[in-house]
């Protein structure tokens, strides 16, 4: 702990201490040991992956490099981010069963995503050199503009997501090891950077797979802890508590019923719009691996959904049975309320799983943002980085993106809150028109894709700004509007335009449309 204290002193002198932290959980020896082992193994696995990151395609995409188990665990862990493991239980605490539909929908959406776009995404890795999603968009629509717009969208959303995780991740690590937020940020992002610089997306995938295993182990701890705590009587107790009542245990929850539309459709169909999923499809070594990857990833995610569900209801049970009641607006602490009632070993196991959820998603987005700049944006604007130098510049950009995300996340103030809302829904609105519609519908055109991507970026940012400036707020999650609008735009514009659609479909794409 002396090293931590010294580090804290140095960081506080440069204004990076993060202020005082309310310690809800006393760090135990178990937790500190688990954290240290977890970090060391993550770095080791990540550096080992360097041997799989020799070419630009492997560094930015892990293209055709991994088997089904690695991809399944990596997909599930990258999709189940901190939002699922910390935000999810918080949603249950605030809204009852409403949000549980989200995670149930997402789990069953994995195989659905593979069913629909799996073979065509994997097939694209045979048709052309694929390292990033904009690579595929460029070939499908014969357009550098589509490539650039998609890269800009992915870059903004990735950096926004990373920045929004800085403080959330720091809060978790402060609870785990009792350090300041500044040190916590260094632990999370320093560890991730330590291997990402060398191994890029290949390192991200391999460490994500390890972190997925840690998350599954955490689920076992949660199941044991939940039934030990509640005796299986959580819902009757919550219904009987005057503070909560039947709304917290019925099938629709506290939020208005129409929110089920958003939570089921967007999170089921939306799985296939997540870059963490789409890129993994072409990271598989063989087309035969699609079978196991689709099935195992769905089952793994479904198992980890139990954290969302059980931790949320466990926290509600604690409050309903006379324990601590979280103040309004503090629902995100539900996971820590639940953990505060667990024994040291289970606490350590589950907290390591929470850290794994954050780091696995962060590493993916660092790599994606770096690829978007080094490979796609430069190429789209006519300054393609020579293939042999892409890995070198990718390493530099990985460092820059991480530092920028930390800086923006720490000192970005309100802008972080505003842009942090760009996530799941934003990705769906940008990728579904391009990959779902684009790889199935011959008549999808370049003009349709440009219009759809423009609508996706403009619509998402507009609704978020209007909401934050308190000018207008939709009575439902605004990303549903953005997704629907971008898909409808793609279809309507494509009906009246021709480039790269119908008879003008690129010849090299013909085999894809027969798969």
């Amino acid at each position: 702990m002396n090293v931590l204290n010294s580090l804290q002193t140095v960081l506080s002198k440069i204004g990076f201490s993060g202020g005082n932290v309310t310690q809800l959980i006393k760090p135990s020896a178990f937790t500190i040991i688990f954290t240290v082992v977890f970090i060391l193994v993550s770095i080791g696995v990540g550096i080992y992956a360097t041997k799989k990151a020799k070419t630009a395609e492997q560094y930015f995409g892990g293209t055709k490099s991994f088997g089904p188990w690695v991809i399944a665990l990596a997909s599930a862990s990258a999709v189940m981010s901190a939002f699922g493991f910390i935000g999810g239980p918080g949603y249950v605490y605030k809204f009852g069963f409403t949000s549980v539909w989200m995670t149930f929908a997402a789990g069953t959406g994995f195989a659905y995503a593979y069913w629909i776009v799996g073979k065509r995404m994997r097939g694209m890795a045979e048709v052309t050199d694929v390292a990033t999603l904009p690579d595929i968009a460029k070939v499908r629509f014969k357009s550098e503009a589509v490539r650039a717009l998609l890269a800009i969208g992915l870059f903004i959303a990735a950096v926004a997501y990373l920045s929004s995780q800085v403080k959330g991740g720091a809060k978790l690590v402060t609870q785990m090891v009792g350090c300041t937020e500044g040190v916590a940020v260094l632990i999370i992002f320093g560890t991730t950077l330590a291997y990402m610089i060398f191994s890029g997306m290949s390192g991200s995938i391999l460490t994500d797979a390890f972190q997925g295993l840690v998350m599954v182990a955490g689920v076992l701890g949660v199941i044991f802890g939940f039934f030990n705590l509640t005796g299986g009587a959580a819902m009757p107790t919550i219904q009987g508590a005057a503070r909560f009542g039947a709304k917290f245990v019925d099938g629709a929850g506290v939020l208005p019923y129409h929110m089920l539309v958003v939570f089921t459709v967007v999170f089921f169909i939306g799985v296939m719009g997540q870059p963490q999923m789409l890129t993994k499809m072409y990271s598989l070594k063989s087309h035969k691996d699609l079978k196991k990857a689709g099935f195992y990833s769905g089952m793994t995610y479904a198992v980890t959904s139990l954290v969302w569900f059980l931790v949320g209801y466990g926290a509600l049970y604690i409050s309903a049975s006379g324990g601590t009641v979280l103040p309004k607006g503090q629902g995100d602490l539900a996971a820590f309320l639940f953990l505060s009632k667990m024994t040291g070993f289970i606490q350590a196991l589950v907290m390591a799983a929470l850290l794994a959820a954050i780091m696995s998603t962060a590493s993916f987005f660092i790599s994606m943002a770096s690829g978007a700049v080094v490979r796609d944006l430069t190429g789209a604007f006519g300054h393609e980085v020579p293939h042999k130098k892409q890995v070198f510049w990718g390493r530099i950009m990985t460092f820059v993106v991480t530092l920028f995300a930390i800086g923006f996340g720490y000192w970005g103030g309100r802008a972080v809150l505003v842009l942090g809302a760009l996530g799941w829904g934003f990705f769906c609105s940008a990728t579904l028109p391009v990959f779902l519609i684009g790889l199935f519908w011959r008549r999808a055109t370049k003009e349709g894709a440009i219009a759809a991507l423009s609508v996706a970026i403009f619509s998402n940012l507009t609704w978020i700004i209007l909401k934050n400036l308190k000018i207008y707020k939709l009575p439902f999650s605004d990303y549903l509007f953005s997704i629907g609008a971008s898909i409808a735009t793609m279809v309507i514009v494509s009906m009246f335009t021709k480039t790269a659609g119908g008879d003008d479909l690129p010849k090299q794409l013909e085999p894809i449309f027969k798969l």
Partner: protein, 150 residues
């Protein structure tokens, strides 16, 4: 001239887009009934893309497998889940099933477990019908020919 098959995909793509627009409208109205209509529309949207995913060599596969199982059965599971959750909105109960409110238990059983037993499991069991090796071999041959021609 567009083939019959590409017309079917045209129709599915347009139906999908219309469903998205209906979803936006039902959510904007924001009443429990409009929400319920939205959930049924969402089920149809899910089914639409599911059917689109059966396309192989330019043909949709509407045989019992996969059309009845998994597609139709999963769609029915979805609709039943929404009907049950809608009909038990905010109602207290004494009949907990395995410790759960029936309005939550049945969606868990039908929407989640049912979804895993239909879409997810069927993908694993019937993968060889979805992507036979012969399809992949034909695909690779054509890709190689295109590369040589280029």
């Amino acid at each position: 001239m567009a083939s019959t098959q590409s017309k079917a995909i045209d129709a599915l793509v347009v139906i999908g887009a219309v469903c998205w627009v209906i979803l936006i409208i039902t959510c904007w109205i924001a009443t429990p009934l409009s929400g319920f209509i939205g959930t049924i529309t969402g089920s149809i949207l899910m089914m639409t893309y599911f059917v689109m995913g059966t396309e192989r060599k330019g043909k949709l596969n509407l045989k019992p497998v996969p059309f009845v199982y998994p597609i139709l059965i999963q769609t029915i599971f979805w609709i039943l889940s929404f009907i049950i959750s809608y009909s038990m909105l905010g109602q207290p109960t004494n009949n907990f099933i395995l410790g759960m409110h029936p309005g939550a238990f049945w969606p868990l059983a039908l929407f989640w477990i049912g979804g895993l037993l239909t879409g997810t499991l069927s993908y694993f069991i019937f993968f060889d019908k979805y992507l036979p090796d012969s399809d992949w071999d034909d695909f690779m041959k054509e890709v190689e020919q295109n590369k040589k021609a280029a």
